[in-house]
């Protein structure tokens, strides 16, 4: 992937990710999050992870965001009214986030492999679904089945939680 495409998609993802946090209207936030996830899927594909990129589009930008939008419309949320801002808490949040960012820059700057470009891949990457499937059903068979149980528990839990009389 040419470098300028990487920077375009990274910038797209970060700008729309920031818009999620900045927007006051929850629906606008959710739509910005969709664009941010699409940019992230493009970055996955730029790393030759086609399967993960497609899963990202299908599951995140498709299913999860539809769920978010559905709930926002179900609750009929409007743009929130401006409240009195707790300046101490806000300043604390900004300072902690900034410290975290500086820490990440420092660690990545000291990381020796960070300056190296990605090695070339002589093999074809078209069969990555095949390889991931082999790992998933061979080496990671037990975690895969546990994931199935987790989804079953989540389904039952959601049904129990969304019943009318919660007693």
């Amino acid at each position: 992937m040419p470098p300028f495409l990487f920077w375009i998609f990274a910038l797209l993802m970060l700008v729309f990710g920031a818009a999620v946090v900045i927007n006051r209207n929850p629906i606008a936030s959710a739509l910005n999050l969709v664009v941010s996830f699409l940019g992230l899927a493009a970055l996955f594909i730029s790393l030759d992870a086609y399967f993960i990129g497609i899963i990202q589009v299908l599951v995140y930008a498709g299913a999860i965001m539809v769920l978010f939008l559905f709930i926002i419309m179900l609750l009929d949320l409007r743009a929130e009214k401006l409240r009195k801002i707790n300046w101490v808490a806000s300043a604390g949040g900004v300072v902690v986030a900034f410290a975290l960012l500086m820490q990440i820059f420092y660690v990545v700057g000291r990381f020796k492999s960070a300056g190296q470009p990605f090695p070339r891949m002589p093999g074809s990457t078209v069969d990555d679904v095949h390889n991931i499937g082999l790992l998933l059903f061979g080496n990671y068979n037990l975690p895969f089945q546990i994931i199935g149980v987790v989804i079953l528990v989540a389904t039952i839990g959601v049904i129990v939680l969304s019943r009318r009389e919660l007693r």
Binding site: A10, V21, A49, Y60, I104, V108, S113, N131, I132, L135
Partner: protein, 106 residues
């Protein structure tokens, strides 16, 4: 040339945006979306490391991609349960503002 560090920096900035969202926003749904941003930032660095460690046969390290697959699956289940809790909370209190939901009693 795009290096591993570029991907890690982008991932770190995305994580920080999500973290700032959790710290600064007071709408519980926006906080939940920011959590998703943080999960995705972790996924991005995992996939970058997967592509960085190419084995002699010329394939990336697929263990990381399986891990990302698991993270996405668990995140989907987590979003479903979390949104159900938010709906139940909204029915009880008619608000999504976290400062209005401070008592532990239902």
């Amino acid at each position: 040339m795009v290096t591993l560090g570029d991907y890690l920096i982008v991932s770190g900035i995305l994580f920080t945006i999500g973290f700032a969202g959790v710290m600064l926003r007071r709408n519980i749904i926006i906080i939940f979306m920011s959590l998703e941003l943080m999960l995705n930032a972790a996924n991005l660095s995992l996939v970058a490391f997967s592509r960085f460690h190419v084995d002699p046969a010329g394939a990336p390290n697929y263990n990381a991609q399986v891990f990302v697959f698991f993270i996405i699956t668990v995140a989907a289940a987590e979003v479903a349960v979390g949104l159900a809790i938010i709906v139940a909370l909204f029915r009880a209190r008619q608000t999504t503002h976290v400062e209005d939901i401070t008592s532990l009693r239902f």
